[in-house]
């Protein structure tokens, strides 16, 4: 209806003569035609007029519009308007290609965004894991160092570290050694005293021998005095002198023996005291050593438990570090997988896009050449000029309309379902 109205408006000045011309044949035959033929022909007349105007009459030349460029002639404007249908088709194809390109670009953008998101999260995760690994390693070192060093703020004489306990044990053993040396010296003194007692015993043996000799001589003198009792007094006097001398000798011997016995008693008492003192000393030293060893053993056992706990903590931290490293490896794989996915996506998608645009470029250029005003010099008026100087040469024919973009690699997306990760056939 818009076209009909446009033509009626355009031919408004010629409508009456045209109507007259159409009516002349009808008017010429009307007086002889029957009434029913006239009643049929009147509406047919209007139908014919409608068909004539709509399909037979050429499009009226358009007048210049306010938006038309002054540099373009009326003829060009007319030709351009005649080419509106081709323009519409071209623009429709442009719209289709643009829509498809937009979809492809959106897909690329979606994948790039996805890759960037994964890469970012992977980097963050890797960073966190490295921090965790560093923290746990430092904790391990601290635990290991604590085993060998005194804890700060826990001063005092009590040993805190394994080294302190080892040093305390060493000092205790040294003290025990010194005490044993002293005991040995004491025992050497006792041995010297025993030697003196042995010497005194020898002297007593000598004195006893002398006394036995004296007793023997006295017995002989008694027998001799009995035999010579009646001989003379002189001999008796001699005998008496000898008995007195023997008596004196026996007296001296008995004094010597008494003195020796006194010495022996004194030495025995002294030795006994020394032995008692040594025994007491050894008992005290043993008790002290036993107490110290018991205390040290208890503390060492306690420290050993701490060492066990520390070693267990170190082992647990080692396991956690291994898990962190495993996680880092997984995150690095995510990085690599997404990078590969992007690389596989990039080439076909962009090639397809470039091919589509090149096809449109060729079509537009061809269409532009067909325009009469172009006169073989493409784009002289610049109306349909398309600049694609930097585009590469098309490597393959343009994809037909509606061809879908190359499918993205059918990889399992990063962080996707982990089901059936490993399958042994």
């Amino acid at each position: 209806m818009k076209a009909l109205r446009f033509k009626l408006y355009a031919y408004r000045n010629r409508l009456v003569p045209m109507f007259v011309l159409v009516m002349i044949p009808w008017l010429a035959v009307a007086p002889w035609a029957p009434w029913w033929l006239l009643s049929i022909s009147v509406p047919l007349l209007f139908v014919c007029a409608w068909l004539l105007i709509l399909h037979v009459l050429p499009n009226p030349p358009a007048s210049r519009r306010a938006s038309d460029s002054g540099k373009v002639s009326d003829g060009d404007i007319l030709r351009m308007r005649q080419a509106s249908e081709q323009n519409a088709q071209l623009l429709a194809r442009w719209a289709n290609v643009t829509r498809e390109s937009k979809l492809q670009l959106e897909e690329v953008d979606q994948h790039v965004t996805e890759v960037m998101t994964h890469a970012e999260s992977a980097v963050i995760e890797i960073g966190k894991r490295f921090v965790e690994v560093t923290r746990k390693t430092r904790r391990q070192v601290e635990l290991a160092v604590a085993l060998l060093s005194r804890a700060e703020g826990e001063g005092g004489d009590s040993p805190q570290s394994l080294t302190d306990y080892i040093q305390a044990c060493d000092a205790l053993l040294k003290s025990l050694g010194e005490q044993l040396l002293a005991t040995g010296e004491e025992l050497a003194g006792l041995a010297a005293r025993q030697e003196a007692v042995r010497e005194d015993s020898k002297r007593i043996d000598g004195a006893l021998d002398q006394m036995a000799e004296l007793a023997s001589q006295i017995r002989v003198l008694a027998l001799d005095s009995g035999r010579r009792g009646n001989a003379d007094n002189r001999a008796f006097v001699e005998m008496t002198d000898r008995v007195r001398a023997l008596s004196l000798t026996a007296d001296e011997s008995s004094r010597a023996i008494r003195k020796t016995l006194e010495d022996i008693k004194a030495q025995a008492r002294s030795t006994d005291e020394a032995i008692r003192a040594l025994a007491t000393q050894a008992r005290d030293a043993g008790r002290r050593s036993s107490d110290q060893i018991a205390e040290l053993t208890g503390a060492t056992l306690k420290k050993s438990e701490e060492v066990n706990r520390a070693l267990s903590d170190i082992g647990n931290l080692g396991s956690q570090i291994q898990a962190d490293i495993n996680q880092i490896i997984i995150e690095l794989q995510f990085q690599d997988i997404t990078q590969q996915k992007l690389q596989r996506l990039k080439a076909p998608m962009l090639t397809e896009l470039a091919s589509s645009w090149l096809a449109m470029f060729e079509e537009t250029r061809t269409f532009n050449r067909k325009l009469p005003h172009a006169e073989g010099a493409e784009g002289s008026t610049g109306r349909f000029r398309v600049s694609l100087k930097t585009a590469p040469e098309p490597q393959k024919p343009a994809a037909p309309a509606g061809t879908a973009a190359p499918a993205a690699p059918q990889d399992k997306g990063p962080r996707g379902d982990d089901g059936a990760k490993v399958e042994l056939f």
Partner: protein, 120 residues
């Protein structure tokens, strides 16, 4: 300790696998594609092969088939380590002679456990 051939076109992935295996005491040889892997398999006897699927030149499935044709590789375990998880491709790998299928990204512990299973 096993002698293992790792085939992957991604250097990062290859090094990740190599790092995991060498940490466990295995001897690792790397190859960036199927052709080089095949050449290395002809020159040395391996206890196990781990290969990707999507590689330039010869892909992983073809590599498995080619390896199975070698006398030294006829009975060794061959694991496919790939991002592909489709049942059809798995079936192709199985038909080609693959021993197992591991989907990337792999967990190092799981990979080592799988290796232990197939090597035992």
């Amino acid at each position: 300790m096993a002698s293992i051939l790792v085939v992957d076109d991604s250097t990062t992935m290859r090094q990740m696998v190599a790092f995991t295996l060498t940490s466990a005491g295995h001897d690792v040889t790397e190859a960036p594609d199927g052709n080089q892997a095949l050449a290395k398999a002809k020159g040395k006897k391996f206890d196990l092969v781990i290969t990707d699927v999507n590689m330039p030149g010869m892909n992983g499935i073809d590599l498995v088939q080619s390896l199975r044709a070698l006398p030294d590789c006829k009975f060794i375990p061959i694991l496919v380590l790939t991002t592909e998880a489709g049942a059809e491709l798995k079936q192709k790998g199985r038909s080609a002679g693959a021993t197992g299928w591991i989907v990337k990204p792999f967990n190092p512990e799981v990979l080592l456990d799988t290796l232990k299973k197939v090597l035992d």
